[in-house]
């Protein structure tokens, strides 16, 4: 019997994105309603380890496309292989990433069906999935359904669903897929690694800095920095060092507000908000961020929010579970120290 629920396992150089396991967990739940088991699809080169993990986290069948043509992710080549594999599925799940957003869109065109990206919740409406997704960066939610066409393609937002426990004793039927990547006009030359540490969207804890990181007039920059703008950047670097120190103790990712990015304190890939990354960690610590609506839209679904700001009227306090009125320059160092001691680091 062919399975009805398929999961695409997203990985980078055979490191599986944790959200792929969350997708397997959702797939198992869906299969209970729709019947059949769960098929996972793994594409790449030398992917045996990824195949094993897919089985351990809940796949009954793993369809493997292992080929040099799939060594690097290329949307067109991957879609050429994936579309025929999933053509008869009822539901196709992807974990959301830059890669899968593209791949899901391409497969949807091939199969003339709908995609519901960034799903955070779902229920069944008859045989169709009624999926909830944020729009306007989470200012609103919408329920979306793909009633007639199949497969129903969903990309699941990272950390929106619980990840299942691995069971290394689980085994799956492994099926080798026919790989015809086609004549693809895209060639991967190489990679340049990001310098920025823990990925924001996967992080369980995020410590973010805002405009306030440069707001310490008493800090005197070295004499050779005479330009006022450069002095501000220098101050911001001192402030962000405190943010990073705290992040390091907590194993957290470092984020920033748009104001801090626009002022060139940190690169754009750190930006949390409607025009940056939308995040939903267990703990979000905002230091020196007042809480513009566009920032709040990007972090409001965090489980616990801690705010440190010297302005007691900063709007972000309204979202917080714990608030400290104080200058981040005064509060962060003793906080980092206290946590270091208590966490035994």
């Amino acid at each position: 019997m062919t399975n009805k629920v398929f999961v695409y396992i997203d990985h980078f150089e055979n490191h599986v994105a944790p959200a792929s396991f969350e997708a397997l967990g959702v797939a198992r739940q869906m299969a209970e309603t729709l019947g059949g088991g769960v098929s996972a699809v793994v594409l790449g080169q030398d992917v045996d380890d990824v195949v094993k993990q897919a089985a351990a986290y809940g796949a009954d069948v793993v369809i493997k496309g292992d080929d040099p043509a799939l060594k690097d992710f290329r949307g067109e080549a991957y879609a050429n292989v994936l579309s025929p594999i999933v053509a008869n599925a009822e539901v196709l799940l992807f974990p959301t990433s830059g890669r899968t957003r593209e791949l899901a869109g391409l497969v949807a065109v091939d199969l003339e069906t709908g995609v519901i990206p960034d799903v955070i919740d779902y229920e069944f409406d008859g045989a169709s999935v009624l999926a909830t997704r944020p729009i306007y960066a989470g200012k609103l939610l919408t329920k979306v359904v793909c009633r007639e066409r199949r497969p129903q393609i969903l990309t699941l937002r990272s950390r929106a669903f619980p990840g299942p426990e691995a069971d290394s004793g689980r085994s799956a039927e492994i099926v080798e897929a026919e790989v015809d990547a086609g004549d693809v006009a895209t060639e991967v030359i190489g990679y340049r690694e990001s310098q920025s540490g823990v990925s924001l969207t996967d992080a369980a804890i995020i410590v973010s800095g805002g405009r306030g990181v440069s707001n310490r007039p008493s800090l005197v920059p070295p004499a050779e920095i005479s330009d006022e703008a450069e002095q501000e950047i220098w101050r911001a670097q001192q402030g962000f060092k405190l943010v990073r120190d705290l992040a390091e103790v907590l194993g957290a990712a470092v984020g920033a507000s748009r104001a801090a990015v626009d002022a060139k304190y940190v690169p754009y890939d750190r930006q949390v908000g409607q025009t940056g990354k939308v995040v939903s960690p267990d703990l979000y610590i905002a230091a020196g961020i007042s809480g513009a609506i566009q920032h709040l839209a990007g972090m409001r679904t965090s489980k616990t929010i801690v705010v440190i700001n010297k302005d007691a009227d900063a709007p972000i306090f309204k979202l917080s579970r714990f608030g400290v009125v104080g200058d981040l320059f005064d509060v962060l160092p003793p906080l980092t120290q206290a946590l270091k001691e208590r966490l035994g680091k």
Binding site: F12, F73, R74, G75, E76, A79, G98, R99, R101, E102, L106, A108, V109, E112, T113, V115, P117, P134, Y136, A137, G138, K139, L140, L141, T142, K143, V144, V145, C146, E148, V184, A185, T186, E187, V188, I189, Y191, R192, E193, S194, S199, P267, T275, I293, Q294, R300, T301, V306, F317, L319, S320, R321, F322, G323, G326, D330, L332, P334, L339, R342
Partner: protein, 260 residues
Amino acid sequence: MNIVVCVKQTADTAATVTVEDGKISWGDTPLILNPWDEYAVEEALRIKEKHGGKVTALSLGPERAKEALKQALAMGCDEGILVSDPAFAGADSLVVSKIIAAAIQKIEDVDMVCFGRASVDSDTGMTGSQVGRRLGWPALNLVAEITALDLQGKSISVERMLEEGRQQVRASLPAVVSVVKEINEPRYPSFMGIRKASKAEIPIWSKDDIGLGEVPPSAVEWPQVFAPPKVETVVEMIEGDTPEQKAVKLADRLLEEKVI
């Protein structure tokens, strides 16, 4: 270099968006050119300035979307085209990609299509790649830099922002490119540009104009839009005489509540 840049009119990111009687409302806040699309317009203009050619701004939407096209024209685009038809109402990304691909085919001899990475309203981020698929052109998404452009050899090299780092990719032209914020700093419209844009004639292309015949039904529908449930947070303000006291107390509370 014949470039088409696809733009969308959206609500301002500073707007408070609410639902009234099942309809989305952004109050009195004026609609804007989707912020991501400004980077696409800017990149298209930079390529034209370096390699020559023409930049056409294309938008799918109701009559009022002309305002977004005017903003693109004010920045320096040569022409604006509005693709608009009552039959397009409620189109999902599957159908939108079909409409835009048909419009691009009508423009003819296009070397490159630029998109912003997503729109800030529906935020699907898929239209660019879906248009590329329909045209049979490579789709390069999340582009942070165009590193080389070879018009004779018909090739483009870019760096894409993946979660793990920058992927360096080469593809053939024509191609579809969707850009991220890191790619450039969009210019402000010049006074002359604004004047030119205010006088510009923007043609409207209907479904028949782009040879689409019947518009296929959307694959997905969104029967419900609603405000996220209010999170009931009771703020606990951490008090203390000194910042050190507050910091230590906060650390203890985070551990007590098992947040860490």
